[in-house]
Symmetry: D2
Subunit: 373 residues, 4 copies
């Protein structure tokens, strides 16, 4: 059950066929979901509620063929490796990884290993992978470091176009959003002749602030009614940050954008997040990446011996970029709603439970606010 | 008639006494409003619908005593001078000016002149003023360059604490927002022991996108009902950019924030703008500045001969910064609504008319969406 | 007498025919030099030692046809307007102005006026001009605001390709560099099939730190030998900042660079500045802009009615960008040396004198350090 | 044998007692050096020429007590994790790691593990570690991923104040600089009442461009005389990038700097690099971090229950920051020279050899250029 299935239609633009980041041709998504054990937290043992999601940005050899990309930081209490290279050269190389905060390193190095394996361990293979994270320590044994290199390789092997599993999957497995169960969500928009897709790992925000299509849903479902997992965390330890959390947003488009135009799209992820009610709290790692597949062959086509010093590109004329900008804001908002709706109630370490946002309840609230026919 | 007078209450925090940027002690605002002539545009003659607004950031000698500040660019199709210095040194010196796009220069140099005058033309006076703008060429003879240095000096002389005139005043005189008449607006919030105030010059956005407190007001008042000034502009010339325009946002707080914390507040202005429905279109100059008066005496207290190499500061601990961040998002949203409500219908050059947002109409729409008792 | 005429050859690359920014086809430079009066400073009257320099970036209609550009701040104690637009859209529109600190505004607005005049005051003309500055208050009556709009128009009218006058001209008229007389300087490099040109307005640095091609020239010509104008300033008032000052650097290339690549070139200006001995002191406004004329037609070719949504571009492949990067560092270093050699001894307000760097003396020092045959 | 032992004195400021980053009180450095095997490259087996270096920034609990920090990117072809947090909050938490390009991940996660271990695996421990890298694949089996978590823990255990081993140690073990053997180097400067220390992992640059204290040493020792390891790499495979490589620079000071002031210091590392002859080539990851220990107790002193909302700080007044800025440029230059002088000739995988810069030879060249008595 996704937002549109309920009749919740964010914005004024139309989604692509799948209403997913995979509507952008060539983009593939793979998840490895790790759910194991129950009961009290025993660091190194579990319970495990985590995973890794990979986004493969195009249908070529992603390890050697970069595409244009740009990034934006709305709030930097998080990690997204590889950004210095993306900001400098405007290029994304390899698959993108998303996982929990304490597993960024293993995923990063495993992506280099994947690149090396794909090229017979040639000494010339080299990479600066892009790996993002949000914190799942409320439900998961995060200091158990349960994500292993093989989990990355299996997510890569599983990556496919087509509908994207959402909710409690991959990197989103143990995430919490607006004090409901959160996780992975996606949506897309057709923008003139191009498509824009967004995938989020949503793990941020206070209940009270939640808005869906402008309706104050969070106020209508108070914590006294559907309790917050963070209250359970607080009862166990000092650390309870419902207004912390984070959101990673990945934007894909087939439009021929230049790197600085990609960065502009990346910034618009934050506008979708703002519409959901977030103010990007201090504890939030709100980091966004946008890539554009509309230009290919950005490196020398013939390798080191290719004498050509320039390549030919297309660029979206600035006067036509608005639909792409608007699409990001809309698709982000809808991707978060999709994550909330897809995520099922989960009980993790120490019995901490994050409840799902019930579709029927949401529908009733939207109707009260004159938003559904 | 301001938003709260109508019962429209944005967010969950309480405003200050004036619900204005002047709730921050020492902050003063002054306007020079230039309205003259009617009829066809004759460049250099009129009609004139423009002005200049100044924000004086503290009650000391603003020309020689800087305070901490930070900035953010949501979309850069605009000008806000002085930002390189603010980004480098984290300091704001002098009064801030806001005017039309083609008068930034005259206002900038006049602010230097004001500094020099205030110090008997001493050769040691030196300044890098901060002056922002939005484009009022739909209503105003913008290529007539009607803002003169004396208009800056009179705005400075008029600057005062107390309630801030909103709508068609100062730099906001000829501005258009969501295809209604826009202009200057302000609001404030109490954030724990501190106050946050926001002042905007609102001149952006398409009607269809307008949301007020999440309610799709723009869709409820279509252009077929209350026409857009941009359609008149388009009928006269090729240039018609309802989705362009811009918004300048100035944030003041009495909290002792460091420069990088000010920049974080500045970025949250964009979150309020996003909630209004903007996606920060290509043609928009969405530039935001935040300053904090909670630390003073940042330069050597005793001048060049003062041997002290350090000064003492206070800093808001990061764990307590959230209310300040949230306050900016809320106050920005409310400041824009206040600008829309304060602005009266205006007819400018070539008979082009920007209509006011009618309070009664807004009230009815809010009620239909279950937002008012 | 320029550096190469003396046998001082900076770096390992070859200059263009003119060894000037005008080696980049289409680039034109114009100066208005204002020298008037002698004796004690009388604010508003003089003495006047200032001016304005314009760099016209290509041979088309610069007011309506933007080209790609990027910027870098080494130290932000200065102003370069228009940077928010350049950072957002990667585009430079119009001619660039360089003047004194207190005349940035008048030059900015005059450039808009020039754009409007060139287009019959059409209401659709709109601009966010790029104007930089350094401080000439040691020699010039800077609070007299002697630069007027007509000086900008005459600099534009005078702009031409061909050799660029250096030293005490245009915006560089009253500038001081390493406590010698400074001002405007330029140099260029051939970088594979392209050309890179740099123009500086040099007004920074302590004598002791001056290095030319790595040779500690400043130590070899101490202040006890050739006095500093700043010592005279200090004797008159408290303000004496030999280590302050600033440098504006403009980079032009005919290579087809994208905006982010332009920004990379802009940052390399600072590497040339560093080789001269600067550490980019707190008081320095070291702001750099690079533009690339290798792509044209970046806006819709047919105006608003042109249905095309994309344009075709060329991009220098990253593996071939190194010569362009190196060229900027080399040409910057040489442009500063050229400014120092071209500038003649000048006496300004209050009899303050900035002495020229004597070519013979420089030659002798270079020989002592085994640098000339 | 370090630069000063040879009589090479960079700049005009005095070093601290150790002329090392450890002159800043509380700063400790630890290395794990991995050298094993010889002969042909067998990925996964060796030969191994790599390691990890840690910089522990203060004498408190670095895992829970952050200090102010700032960063700068001169060229982004590299990785330095944790920068989004440092840019957002201006704070460095934990020890800094430096290693090879393909081991950043394992070092990052191991630093989190170290933090968790130090706090009994409390679920509240959370970290965004700062780990940098340069590429040692010319000498090392970089795709063998030989750095393991235990190597990080042993480097931490070994971290101490006192003299810092330089050259072929820690992360610098397999590095190449100006086509000589490179690696770790350090230097410091006294700046008024404070100390500034710099540590580099130097792995960049072409021979021909090498300058030491302005003297063109690289030209005086051509590749025909002392061969380049990159020529051997090129003979084995297509990948040979003498002008690539990278340099990581870490700046420490005991001055009470704010985060934005730290960022200013970080940018000056690039000025030292420029003086060495680098132009920051496309292939270079030139990433710099500066931290300041002069303010402590930046988080709530009493933990979550501490009701205080502000902390007291000291700030270096801007008018006194110049010696700190200059110190960074000087110390960086000297740290690189120290790295070159300390590094001994090393033969790595496939018999590839990076030769040391011979002190006697350097001395002779300096004398020829009138630089030593």
């Amino acid at each position: 059950m996704r937002a549109r299935d309920l009749g919740v239609r964010i914005g004024r633009m139309e989604p692509g066929d799948l209403n997913a980041i995979t509507d952008v041709a060539g983009v593939r998504v793979g998840h490895t979901t790790l759910i194991e054990g129950d009961g009290p937290l025993r660091p190194g043992t579990g319970p495990i509620r985590t995973g890794v999601t990979v986004v493969v940005p195009h249908d070529g050899d992603v390890w050697t063929e970069p595409i244009f990309a740009g990034a934006h930081r709305l709030n930097g209490n998080g990690e997204l490796t590889g950004l210095e290279w993306i900001r400098e050269a405007g290029m994304l190389g390899g698959a993108i990884g998303i996982t929990n905060t304490h597993s960024v390193g293993v995923v990063r190095d495993a992506l280099i290993e994947a690149a090396a394996r794909a090229h017979a361990m040639s000494d010339g293979v080299w990479a600066l992978p892009t790996v993002g994270e949000t914190y799942d320590g409320a439900l998961n044994d995060i200091n158990g470091f349960h994500v292993r290199p093989d989990h990355v390789h299996s997510a890569l092997a599983a990556a496919s176009g087509g509908p994207v599993p959402e909710g409690n999957v991959g990197g989103g497995t143990g995430m919490i959003c607006h004090e409901f169960k959160g996780g992975i969500g996606t949506a897309s928009r057709r923008a003139t002749r191009w498509t824009v897709g967004v995938l989020v790992q949503a793990n941020y925000g206070a209940r009270e602030l939640l808005r869906i299509d402008g309706v104050p849903v969070g106020r209508a479902i108070p914590l006294s009614d559907v309790p917050s997992p963070w209250d359970q965390v607080e009862a166990l330890s000092a650390r309870a940050t419902p207004e912390g959390g984070s959101i990673i947003g990945i934007v894909a488009t087939d439009a021929p954008l230049l790197p600085h135009q990609c960065a502009r799209l990346a910034q618009r992820v934050g506008m979708g997040v703002a519409r959901m009610g977030s103010y990007a709290s201090h504890g939030s790692g709100d980091l966004f990446l946008a890539f554009a597949t509309g230009n290919r062959g950005l490196s020398r086509n013939g390798g080191e011996d290719d004498p050509r010093r320039t390549v030919e590109l297309q660029m979206v004329v600035d006067q036509h970029i608005n639909p792409l900008l608007e699409a990001v804001a809309e698709a982000t908002e809808e991707a978060i709603v999709n994550a909330l709706l897809a995520a099922e109630t989960m009980t993790g370490r120490d019995g901490i439970t994050a409840h799902a946002l019930e579709p029927d309840r949401l529908l009733a609230i939207m109707r009260e606010h004159a938003r559904l026919a």
